[in-house]
Symmetry: C2
Subunit: 273 residues, 2 copies
């Protein structure tokens, strides 16, 4: 019988999913900074027999642009390996015949260029940062309140981010519009099970065959666990010591950083010297 | 035994509390417009043996300024009869030794001029309108998250207002900061029972001796009823036909406008010809 506890479960793994910001790199001025050991750790995973995907709630730039940034930082990563919420949202729009009003960062607009947006019948909000003005939020509100069946999509549901100082994230504005319109938003991105499932489908794996590694206890670890995956938290990025005493989400393991997690996984699989 | 149903209860009333916007006047360009019959209705109440107070969640101007506006519209009203949230908030600050960080409309700042605001240990938000920028909301958030025991006061909790088009109100941003900081705001203003109680205290009346007349079913009528007062809704201002099918708040009466409500009250009291 397969060992289901950490790190024994590493032996039966077939794939690993990594969060980006806070695991591979820390954001900041310019492209940000790679977290020590993470470039080499990604390289080692790619050289192993494990499948590798990247799952992020990044919505301030198109997938092409932030993958290019990661490549400049030194990571061996390509666009088709990366799963952000915007392309997932575009699939949902197509499936359900929806035309969005967008309240997103200028950097993300290009991703929605080919999407029909006239006479909108839903609203999409993402990490719009400075675009979360009173005027823009009122505009999104008026679109929603004018619909017979208002539909609000939120690309992620984070509270806040630590970039250059603490900054409010999309989840806060999701709650604001939920209250204003008396509705419940549909979250596209982590921790939505549908989102994790789309990554598993791409790898052709069952949940118990995959492991998620992230710095966000609730969205990365808890979200993955809800899907039936293992979830490991790294003590980098937005990790807080209080995460290890969280009342409901308990990581399968908490490790110092990505390099350490990869070291443990690969040595368990007997691939190490 | 006193008749406790409407309109029979009018006979035993000793005081009436009126909401302002949507009951006395409709806001709009300049000073807005008096609702037909309301100037005369206020005059008739003042000439009766009933005590009269005004209870509002207005926070875009100092009390002096918006009372002056009502006087220009033709209302017989004075500053000491009007109860808005800001002076109530200042009392709470004094009682509890708190120094606020303010996220309010420029027009309200003067009200807080004498309040100590350095090294803030709480945050006050009000209907800040254009001041609800991403930058200002981040600033309020950072103050809260930096406090050992974060305290957030919200002056009212309205969803939205209808002035020149639908506009988001303070309650929406209260929900946003509640989510971001994982806390529950203290509401100062309607429908807070403490707020209604302060108006009753000023009149020296018990709740069952007073009647609230407003256009907002939840904040005016429901709030007053929670305090033990009667609550009558007028079909002006933000009244919606669906209010009369509300699942939890049922007005003691719904009348066309303030003039009609006053007509019924005074004729019941046998003061009419």
């Amino acid at each position: 019988m397969a060992d289901s506890s950490w790190p024994g479960c590493a032996k039966s793994l077939k794939g690993v999913i990594l969060d980006l910001c806070g695991v591979l790199y820390d954001s900041g001025e310019g492209d940000g900074v790679a977290i020590p050991g993470s470039i080499e750790a990604v390289k080692r995973l790619k050289e192993s027999d494990l499948q590798l995907r990247f799952c992020t709630n990044e919505t301030q730039a198109t997938r092409e642009k932030f993958v290019a940034k990661l490549q400049r930082l030194g990571f061996d990563i390509s666009v088709c390996e990366v799963f952000p919420p915007a392309p997932a949202a575009i699939s949902v729009l197509k499936e359900r015949g929806l035309r969005p009003h967008l309240l997103v960062h200028d950097g993300l607009l290009q991703e929605f260029e080919a999407v029909e947006k006239t006479n909108p019948n839903c609203v999409i909000i993402a990490d719009a940062a400075e675009n979360f003005s009173y005027q823009n939020l009122n505009e999104a509100f008026r679109v929603l309140i004018g619909l017979e069946k208002p539909i609000l999509f939120s690309l992620g549901q984070g509270y806040y981010k630590e970039t250059d100082g603490l900054k409010l994230d999309v989840g806060v504005y999701m709650k604001a519009l939920e209250y204003a319109c008396d509705l419940k938003a549909e979250v596209i991105g982590k921790p939505s099970p549908t989102f994790f499932q789309s990554v598993l489908s791409d790898m052709g794996l069952k949940p118990h065959e995959a492991l998620m590694i992230g710095d966000d206890l609730v969205n990365d670890v808890g979200g993955a666990q809800c899907c039936g995956m293992k979830g490991v938290q790294v003590r980098t990025g937005k990790y807080r010591p209080s995460d290890e005493r969280h009342p409901t989400v308990i990581a399968d393991a908490t490790v110092d950083n990505l390099a350490h997690a990869v070291e443990v996984i690969l040595s368990q699989r007997g691939l190490e010297a």
